[in-house]
């Protein structure tokens, strides 16, 4: 796999935790997307994608996350993001209004502690 981004998956009960390191742009968004898909497995009800170690993410990455959320929703599964405050990617996510569509936590513990909830009805 490319050294631009690295995907590590981990199963925690019904939660699948996927950590993505590195950078996501047009060149590897598709690849990262399919790697997340592979890491997720079949049983997980909820997918937590930890973007704490992402140093660059642009609208190609945002598009990837939105597509992922949509795909999961169609399979009645939930997507949750972890993005620390002050992260370089926070600004692009805020600007695109992504947190209104995909639940976003600043800390991984908070994301993992949450109970399952229904996905939002519609996307912007």
């Amino acid at each position: 796999m490319s050294d631009l981004a690295r995907v590590e998956g981990e199963q925690r009960g019904t939660i699948c935790l996927v950590r993505v390191h590195g950078e996501i742009d047009l060149s590897n968004a598709h690849e990262v997307s399919s790697e997340i898909g592979v890491a997720m497995g079949q049983e997980a009800r909820r997918l937590v994608v930890d973007l704490s170690d992402i140093t660059y993410l642009d609208s190609a990455g945002v598009a990837l996350l939105l597509r992922l959320a949509e795909r999961l929703r169609s399979r009645r599964r939930q997507l949750q993001l972890v993005v620390p405050r002050g992260s370089p990617v926070r600004r692009v996510l805020d600007f695109t209004g992504l947190p209104r569509v995909i639940p976003l936590e600043s800390r991984l513990e908070d994301a993992l502690a949450q109970r399952d909830h229904a996905p939002p009805d519609e996307l912007p």
Partner: protein, 804 residues
């Protein structure tokens, strides 16, 4: 005799001179005594006076300085028969001066003692005899008259007799003596020649004696015999024969026998001299003419033989030249339908020279079918054209009788006759099989070489690169050294240098495989140790028994950190900003293919700004008779102070480190990070893979421009958005360039992104953020679209002090 006392001793070689004078004197005196027996007038006028001949020969052979011998002998001869000392002296002087004059004049006219030319015969008759001897005759008869020994009225007759006698002495005796003193040039004549000569003389003598006694008219029988002598033996035969005949005739005249029984003295004299002159002239001229003819004949023969030898030599030289050049030649006489080949033609076609029935058909039979068709059509066309012209040269293949295939290059021309009908065709055939093979191999090697080394180094913003490759020796043999520079997806730069042991196509092809493998691995593996580890497994499994050393480094231009793994390669050299050189000798593992687990050790160092990194192969530091440590030391010394220009730096290192006849090839790669100062212009293809390297460059530029961290992030993101748009929309499915220029002035960063395509902000469901986001991130954004492309110009204050 008194001669001895009078010999000038001061002359060099005095003894031999004295001996010569003595010899001449004796010979003269003896000849004179013999001659006087034939005297007709008184006691001292003879019809033939042999001493003059002796004197002329003496002067011709021994030189005129032997005149005292002649003078003395003449005096000795004349004294008893003269009326006193004075007349004897005068006569002797005349006798000496006449031959002296004769010899001088003969030398002047270029007389040759061999008398083998007509002009020599003419010279001795007219100059040597008739002209010169008038002197002795005049002096002699004058003295006789003056001393009262001769009545004045008898002067003309006596003068004539004296003159004729002296002249005959020259004519008859001189050639005879000359023929004796001439070296016998052809030893080992056949015995029958001697028998023939003996028979000839016996016959001549017999005819003379019988004829004189029996019938004077028969005397003319000797003429054919003289002819025989001259014809068969030239002067060597003619001179003695003439002498013999003249002596016999003169003796007969003196004794009054035969034709000289009756008549006055003058009549006898006239008859005798006429006869003698006839004999002398005949034999002389005949012999001279025959000699001349024979010489001409021999000269012709010699030159013919020389010509023949030259032709033979040239033919064999030509044949040799053809053999060396592998060029054969042929000639086709068209009306006669006859083709002849040079020996080399046969060899080229695999036949024994001159042992193959050559016809047009048998020749073409050996040619490959498709080439044969071309040859036939060329030939037909040439025969139909009614002028002299060259045929197009043609390269064709033949199969020899032993099955070997050869490539030949044929040239030919056709010559037409007066009626424009084709007369002959000539041509050459060159065996170019080896040349074509060599050309092919050279092309392969060239292609290989091109594939082995980067034909140009990539242009990496903020990185200066220079490389050199020097093949081993002067033969330009392909070696096993290589270097490479790879732009990695991360935006880092991969640097490699390696060495496959050996030279030639095998080492080169191994090197080529490794180079490609390294490129592939480098694109996938971020860690140098992993790349080298994979190469190690490749070498172990696929390229056994190869010894490969390699150092692979990944340079992060942003931080200057270099991560590397070294598989048994000479350590990279870093020349610091101050000019001090040091080797990077940590992280050294075994060469590739050694199954050494320690191989994958990875180490790192930081290339501080202003440093130069030098990668090289062992050819640079190895020299006959010098240890490698010493070589490394020399390199460190030579590399101290890298200088401004990287190309010059490489050149300087090669000049000081590499000898002309280097046994190993040398590869050299110098790397120096340089600031992105000024207004960098990045030009890349509009493809997704360029995004990460662009960010690397931008980050560096932003840091060097003192941009705040969060501002840098915003600018980076804005640029990423615009570039992504260009890549996605500007060119459709086609390829096109993407150009980014960076500028900072008054604390404001300005980024201009150009393309040559056509795009507008997209409005897809999940897209559409691009341009608004950019406008949010930057303080000003101008978008200008046109038929020549789109330009986006964005500005943002970079430093926090002026941040809004």
């Amino acid at each position: 005799m008194a001669t001895r006392e009078r010999t000038p001793r001061k002359r060099p070689g005095g003894w031999s001179y004295a001996a010569g004078v003595l010899l001449v004197a004796v010979a003269y005196y003896t000849a004179a005594k013999l001659g006087l027996r034939l005297a007709l007038v008184g006691r001292n006028i003879t019809p033939i006076w042999p001493p003059t001949g002796i004197a002329v020969v003496a002067f011709l052979v021994l030189g005129r300085r032997v005149w005292p011998g002649v003078a003395l002998a003449a005096f000795a001869v004349n004294l008893p028969i003269s009326t006193g000392v004075l007349p004897a002296t005068a006569t002797a002087a005349g006798n000496t001066i006449a031959p002296l004059v004769a010899a001088t004049l003969l030398a002047k006219v270029g007389f040759r003692r061999e008398i083998d030319r007509l002009r020599d015969a003419t010279a001795i008759v007219f100059v040597g005899a008739l002209l010169s001897m008038s002197i002795s005759a005049s002096v002699g008869t004058g003295v006789l008259v003056a001393s009262g020994a001769l009545p004045a009225d008898e002067l003309p007759g006596s003068w004539a007799v004296w003159w004729a006698g002296d002249a005959m002495g020259v004519l008859v005796v001189a050639p005879f003596v000359l023929s004796l003193v001439r070296p016998w040039r052809r030893p080992g004549r056949p015995r029958w020649r001697h028998l023939e000569a003996a028979a000839l003389f016996v016959l001549t003598a017999t005819v003379c004696l019988v004829a004189i006694d029996a019938d004077p008219n028969l005397m003319f029988l000797v003429i054919p015999l003289l002819g025989w002598a001259a014809w068969r033996f030239q002067q060597r035969g003619a001179a003695p024969a003439a002498l013999l005949v003249v002596v016999v005739a003169s003796w007969a005249a003196a004794k009054g026998v035969g034709p000289f029984r009756a008549g006055t003295m003058l009549e006898k004299m006239l008859i005798l001299q006429a006869f003698n002159a006839t004999v002398a002239f005949c034999s002389f001229f005949f012999a001279a003419v025959v000699t001349e003819r024979m010489q001409a004949h021999r000269a012709l023969e010699r030159s013919a033989a020389g010509l023949e030898a030259r032709v033979r030599q040239r033919t064999s030289q030509l044949s040799e030249a053809q053999q060396i050049a592998h060029i054969g030649s042929w000639e086709w006489l068209i009306p006669q339908q006859r083709i002849s080949w040079s020996d080399e033609m046969y060899r080229i076609h695999g036949h024994v020279p001159q042992e193959f029935p050559v016809t047009f058909e048998t020749t073409v039979d050996q040619v490959h079918a498709e080439d044969a068709a071309r040859i036939r059509s060329n030939t037909e066309a040439a025969l139909q054209r009614a002028d002299d012209h060259d045929l197009p040269s043609i390269e064709y293949r033949i199969t020899r009788p032993d099955g070997a295939e050869r490539v030949l290059l044929g040239t030919a021309k056709v010559c037409v006759g007066p009626d424009r009908e084709p007369l002959r065709m000539v041509g050459t055939v060159q065996d170019v099989t080896e040349a074509r093979k060599a050309e092919r191999e050279h092309r392969i090697a060239e292609t290989l070489q091109r594939g082995l080394l980067p034909d140009r180094l990539p242009e990496v913003p903020g990185l200066a690169l220079a490389a050199r490759y020097v093949p081993a020796g002067a033969d330009m043999a392909v070696g096993g050294d290589w270097y490479d520079v790879v732009e990695l997806p991360s935006g880092h730069v991969g640097l490699a240098i390696g060495d496959v042991a050996g030279h030639g196509p095998r080492a080169a092809s191994t090197m080529g495989q490794l180079r490609m493998a390294l490129r592939a691995y480098a694109l996938e593996e971020p860690s140098p140790a992993d790349v080298v580890g994979r190469l190690d497994r490749l070498v172990s499994r696929l390229l056994e028994s190869e010894i490969v050393t390699l150092v692979y480094l990944v340079l992060d231009l942003d931080s200057g950190v270099v991560q590397f793994a070294n598989a048994g390669h000479p350590p990279p050299l870093v020349v610091g900003p101050g000019g001090q050189a040091s080797f990077v000798d940590q992280g050294l593992g075994s060469p590739l293919g050694c199954d050494d687990p320690g191989l994958t050790a990875e180490a790192s160092f930081r290339l501080v700004p202003g440093s130069t990194l030098l990668l090289y192969t062992d050819g640079l530091v190895e020299r006959r008779g010098v240890s490698i440590d010493e070589g490394l030391e020399r390199l460190a010394t030579a590399a101290t102070d890298g200088g401004q220009d990287l190309e010059a730096f490489c050149q300087r290192l090669l000049c000081s480190m590499v000898e002309d006849d280097t046994a190993d090839d040398v590869a050299l790669l110098a790397i120096r990070p340089v600031p992105l100062t000024g207004r960098p212009l990045l030009r890349v293809p509009a493809e997704p893979r360029v995004l990460a390297p662009l960010r690397q460059t931008l980050r560096r530029w932003l840091r060097e421009s003192d941009a705040d961290a969060h501002v840098a992030n915003d600018i980076l993101l804005a640029c990423g958005e615009v570039c992504t748009n260009v890549i996605q929309h500007a060119y459709g499915a086609k390829e096109g360039p993407l150009e980014i220029s960076l500028d900072v002035h008054d604390g404001t960063a300005e980024v201009t992104i150009r393309d040559q395509g056509c795009w507008r902000p997209s409005s897809g469901v999940h897209g559409g953020y691009g341009l608004p986001l950019v406008q949010e991130l930057m303080e000003s954004v101008e978008l200008t679209g046109g038929p020549d492309g789109t330009v986006v110009r964005m500005r943002r204050r970079a430093s926090s002090g002026s941040e809004r």
